[in-house]
Amino acid sequence: MLDVIFILAAVGFFGVAWAYVLGCDWLLEGRQP
């Protein structure tokens, strides 16, 4: 059970990091909310 949680946590972190990449790209493109 803990194995599943930690593997999902790792995948989840890299998912957040990918969203962060897209967010930074959005900032660089100069788009406004």
């Binding site: 803990l2 194995d3 949680i5 930690f6 593997i7 946590a9 790792a10 995948v11 972190f13 890299f14 990091a17 990918w18 962060y20 990449v21 897209l22 930074c24 790209d25 900032l27 660089l28 100069g30």
Partner: protein, 573 residues
């Protein structure tokens, strides 16, 4: 400082300086040259790996694709290590029949080695099989270091490339950079220095541990293993994870003052060389020397403070009628003494390495402050392989921006204008670091899971917690000790700190590279602020110190600084 201490510092500094240019030229040829070094020996290996992995090195990537490749590769390698650690009890090369690593510890260790941190909440000889050490951990020592070098080169390309406005805004190919850093830089140097270390007494075998009878007639188990092959890359890749729990204080890892000097040089060699590589890429080597000078100033300052602090008696013993001539010897190897210990502690925390030859927890408060501050300045004083250069380049951009504000001109660097969009990402880079460290330390200091792991009360206990999260987030990996970090809470949160401190800082750095690479280059004019001279070095050092002080001084004042003054008043922790 004694004459021997000065001599050691001078010899070490001279070695680093002497090898900066040749290593820098070599790495410039590897990453940017048309003809790579040793084409008959290393060329076929490189091409084999390209074919095996299906990589076409001529296909360049935008910053988003470069970042995606870094993330995908890191996630894959983290999961591979996690599986190896969890299954080591069923796998080969396990003569001690060590059981599977606990899930939280396996997660922490996988994150630790993926991020080039090498924080170790375990004793290597009592936890890890030889397969885990070699395939799970030493493998990461190469690839995490290679990834760091690749990212630094990508940022350097972004800042230094001159392209037509309609040209693709690409930064190179992550997979090609990863393979070239491994094949041309890390593997050959590691092999060479592993053999040198073997010749000096560092062990290398796959034997079971040996039980011996001591001179007093007792029994002692001597741990063995493939140490030399991991020792060289441990320092060269600024990884720092020791084969043994005692790390470079163990005689099988670091047998003599000569190997100590070699290991110190290995830690600084690539970060120093990369500054020259950067200068070559910028077509002005003085750009690289200016950055190296800033790193050297900060290094020398920290070293002198650490030497001074550790040459003084241990605060707990100062009032006793003892000979204090050797300085504070608590937690130090007699073979190395205070001078080599203080120098090693400074170098390993400047460079994001984390290997230790003494216990930082036993330093006098101001001696322990130096490693802590070194990491908190952002691991830019030489820094990790690659990480030091890309971290310092962010501070360069920050310095250029501040200089531009002071004279009322649009800031520019290497002829490219630095605009608000790059500054937003630079601020993300600068702010994410203290946010993780201070946020998690604050949480730990008011919770049962945080404080129950401490072995010391008062400001020293706070220092132990600050150090743990600083070391994790800074991807340093050295431990202050005095803290039982092998609990589910600490393992999990330190893993999050390590992952955040690596990838949430790499991403804005690559974003800045992607933004700068396509910018038009304007020729330098009379109003251009020169970034290749002593004035800029002074500004860069000042910015690094001011940002670090503004961020961390309040926390430090509650930890090592108040502990120092309490010690002067006779109260120790």
């Amino acid at each position: 400082m004694t004459a021997a201490a000065w001599g050691q510092l001078a010899l070490f500094s001279a070695l680093v300086l002497l090898t900066t240019k040749p290593l820098g030229v070599y790495m410039a040829r590897v990453f940017e040259g048309e003809h790579r070094p040793f084409p008959r020996i290393l060329g076929p290996f490189e091409r084999f790996l390209f074919r095996l992995s299906g990589v076409d090195p001529s296909v360049e990537q935008t910053w988003v694709r470069y970042a995606a490749s870094v993330l995908a590769f890191s996630l894959f390698s983290l999961l591979v290590t996690y599986v190896i650690l969890r299954l080591q009890g069923f796998l080969v090369f396990n003569p001690q029949k060590l059981a599977a690593v606990d899930p939280a510890l396996a997660f922490n260790t996988s994150a630790s080695f993926t991020t080039n941190t090498n924080w170790q909440a375990y004793g290597g000889e009592s936890t890890m099989s030889y397969l885990s050490q070699m395939a799970g951990l030493a493998w990461h020592n190469f690839i995490s270091a290679a990834a760091g070098i690749g990212i630094a080169i990508a940022l350097a390309r972004g800042l230094t490339r001159r392209r037509a406005p309609d040209a693709p805004r690409t930064l190179g190919n992550f997979w090609a950079d990863l393979i070239r850093a491994t094949v041309y830089v890390l593997l050959p140097l590691s092999l060479l220095f592993a053999l040198l270390l073997v010749s000096q007494g560092v062990i290398q075998n796959l034997s079971a541990y040996r039980e011996v009878t001591t001179l007093e007639g007792g029994k002692q188990v001597i741990a063995l293993g493939p140490v030399a092959s991991q020792e060289a890359i441990k320092e060269l890749g600024t990884n720092g994870g020791g084969f043994f729990n005692a790390n470079s204080a163990h005689p099988f890892e670091n047998p003599s003052p000569f190997t100590n000097l070699v290991e110190l040089w290995l830690i600084f060699a690539i970060p120093a060389g990369l500054t020259y590589t950067y200068g070559r890429m910028a077509r002005d080597t003085r750009q690289g020397w200016a950055i190296l000078a800033a790193m050297a100033v900060l290094f020398l300052g920290g070293t002198l403070v650490a030497h001074w602090a550790e040459s003084r008696p241990n605060q707990a013993l100062a009032s006793l009628a003892l000979d204090h001539g050797a300085g504070n010897m608590e937690g130090k190897e007699v073979r190395f003494g205070t001078a080599a210990s203080a120098l090693f502690a400074t170098v390993t925390t400047d460079a994001s390495c984390g290997a230790v030859n003494s216990m930082h927890d036993s330093f006098n408060p101001l001696g322990g402050l130096v490693p802590l501050v070194n990491i908190q300045l952002g691991e830019v004083i030489f820094g990790g392989v690659g990480a030091g250069l890309y971290g310092m380049l962010i501070f360069v951009i920050l310095s250029v921006f501040i200089a531009g504000l002071m004279v009322g001109r649009t800031p520019e660097y290497l002829g490219k204008k630095v605009e608000s969009r790059e500054m937003k990402l630079a601020m993300l880079y600068v702010l994410i670091f203290p946010l993780i460290i201070l946020g998690l330390t604050a949480w730990a200091s008011v919770t049962q899971w945080g404080t129950s792991s401490l072995n010391n009360a008062g400001p020293h206990g706070l220092s132990e917690m600050i150090y743990a999260f600083t070391s994790g987030t800074g991807n340093n990996g050295s431990a202050f000790a005095g803290l039982n970090a092998n609990t589910t809470w600490w393992n999990t949160l330190l893993a999050v700190a390590m992952l955040g401190g690596r990838f949430l800082m790499i991403i804005p750095a690559l974003g800045i590279a992607g933004s700068m690479v396509g910018k038009k280059v304007v020729p330098a004019g009379p109003g251009t602020f020169p970034t290749n001279g002593p004035l800029f070095t002074f500004l860069l050092v000042s910015v690094v110190l001011i940002v670090g002080a503004l961020t961390f001084f309040p926390a430090l004042s509650l930890g090592p600084i108040v502990e120092h003054f309490a010690g002067l008043a006779g109260k120790v922790y």
